[in-house]
Symmetry: C2
Subunit: 363 residues, 2 copies
């Protein structure tokens, strides 16, 4: 039975399958042609079904940022890299338990105390964990500085009986969102040069530092030119958002939208829709962008409301009308929903669960 | 067995029961003493257990802003007011189905087409729906202007065989967050004077407009002074946040915090915690405020990261340390979680589900 997207209760998160598949194919083809692995960041979509499409297209596995994401993606059978350091025994125990259950995993550390936690958990569980050293390439967010401290940490991991040093992670937050392709290339090259210097030092010591993973939707083509880079972590490319659309030179189509309904029309110069702070992430300096209606200006109007100022609207908006919006930032917008509707044309093809491993076919 | 909050996986949402109970008691006592009903807004917490405490303390029921919230709170047996107009047959059908199942409900309309949708759904379900007219008291977000149009809409509702006109809703978004108590009182009085004028006009027509519901955590004491006001909708007072703490004259204690862990310590002037855009709402111009550590400055550092600049820290922060933060804005922060841990002292007393009716004791 045909179910139209226009019949969905709003606000609803939608993904256009044709655009999603095109984005996945386009990046995979380019990254494979450059001789790199693609390991898409699943923190962007938190969706096993989207990860399946990425792996079916040729991805080496997925990245995740949190333990629940790791458990979700490992349960689905993917090779998973946890890109964020953790700092509690409870979490390193969960990683070791996953490894013991047969999951294929990699983790990162940026401090020897984290390595000690992983080592103890691995020893208790009777497993060996694959560990990368996370490098700080200029953001000072996570990562060990790119100097002798990184070499020492890699040596320390390598000397552990229950940890296996498998390479380096270098992610530049600031490069990923630098505006303009040339400026972004310069920024990313400076950042990654620090990582490749550490890599050379480690290889000179005889450590297996051939894996260098990093990169983003903003820098995939830039980082693909770096010979030492072996793996790209782009995530947003699959769904896209206003932010990546604005920085220039990012050739992916907005595949994810939020469907909202016009719920109040008492003024000639504005209408109100049922989507606000709880329907779109608000961490960017701009709001969502309406699709298929031009000449309107979005304004935040609270938790459940947005106002569209009708400056020169390309069509009349009536009570009950559905409008789709491209979210400002895809990752934290996905995080607001428990499901995403997969759409082809205007037909709802599937309803995919997001985020919660406990909801995905488990008791 | 004692379970300490410090053992919880982070980021985790906590509510301090002593502070929560004190906030609930304080507002209920004051509102009851003023001869008004309190109908706390459950969109703030989306938690049946917190609503139970509010109703046990004397609340008349709860407000909700969305259909899933209405279904959640109605299933728990509360008298529920849906404060937001809806504009689709699917939603008015869900409301009518709830009413048919025995739920005690009220809804609002700000346009005759919404009344027509409710009327048709009520007729199909064989029920009568209690309807308030939602007034625009200056925000132009939802609500019908406070003039003859409001009177006409109330008459139209009153003349329907399946709708019962039961009063007025007037909520001032802008008054609720006006800085400074005096300025806030002036703003709210101007706003509410428009509503009481409509109320007088309706009573003069013989319509049952004695119910006037509205008000917020910012204006509860201000609106309690208005004789015509019968019901207060404050929501944030129970949990509180940085925003309501900053506007002055709001006497409730921050009861909700986000627990985070220090996960990276490679720099002498900063540490990184595992809480970012996905752990706190970002719709306010300021970030979360750390509890029990002073002399640090918060900086957003991405979806899963926050950086604490150690300007003059009151204690040393080590890898693995837990830090609690008061969120900038409670409602959209709650919306990021699927559970809240109820804490007394440092003990975890309960784990309360949030948001999802399908997870609350249903198959």
């Amino acid at each position: 039975m045909h179910r139209s997207k226009l019949d969905l209760p709003t606000p609803a998160l939608l993904v256009d399958l044709e655009r999603l598949e095109s984005n996945i194919r386009k990046l995979q083809t380019a990254v494979s042609a450059a001789g790199k692995h693609l390991r898409p960041h699943a923190k962007a979509h938190k969706c096993v079904e989207i990860a399946r499409l990425q792996v079916a297209a040729g991805a080496a596995g997925v990245c995740v940022a949190t333990m629940p994401e790791m458990e979700l993606m490992a349960a689905a059978g993917f090779h998973v890299l946890l890109t964020t350091p953790v700092a509690s025994t409870a979490k390193t125990d969960r990683v070791a338990a996953l490894a013991r259950s047969g999951a294929r995993l990699r983790v990162v550390v940026d401090h020897r105390d984290q390595a000690a936690l992983y080592q103890d958990s691995a020893a208790r569980a009777g497993v060996t964990l694959d560990v990368l050293v996370d490098l700080d390439v200029g953001d000072h967010r996570t990562g060990i500085p790119c100097d002798e401290r990184a070499v020492e940490l890699a040596r320390s991991v390598d000397s552990s009986r229950t940890l296996k040093f498998v390479g380096l992670q270098a992610y530049s937050v600031s490069a990923s969102h630098t505006e303009g392709w040339e400026a972004r290339r310069n920024h990313s090259r400076r950042a990654m040069a620090q990582a490749t210097a550490v890599q050379r030092a480690l290889l000179a010591c005889g450590l297996d530092a051939s894996t260098l993973t990093g990169g983003s939707t903003g820098t995939w083509d830039i980082d693909s030119e770096i010979p030492e880079m072996t793996e790209l972590q782009a995530g947003s490319y699959a769904l896209m958002d206003v932010a990546y659309g604005r920085i220039g030179g990012v050739p992916f189509a907005p595949a994810m939208t939020v469907l909202a309904t016009v719920i109040s029309i008492n003024h000639s110069d504005r209408v109100t829709v049922d989507a606000g702070f709880k329907a779109f992430s608000t961490d960017r300096p701009f709001g969502p962008e309406p699709v298929q209606v031009a000449g309107v200006r979005w304004e935040w109007a609270g938790d459940e409301h947005g106002v569209l100022h009708l400056e020169n609207p390309s069509r009349r908006l009536a009570l009950g009308d559905r409008i789709e919006f491209v979210p400002p930032h895809c990752d934290p917008t996905v995080n607001l929903y428990d499901r995403i509707y997969a759409i082809r044309g205007d037909e709802v093809i599937a309803e995919w669960p997001l985020k919660y491993p406990s909801l995905v076919g488990r008791p």
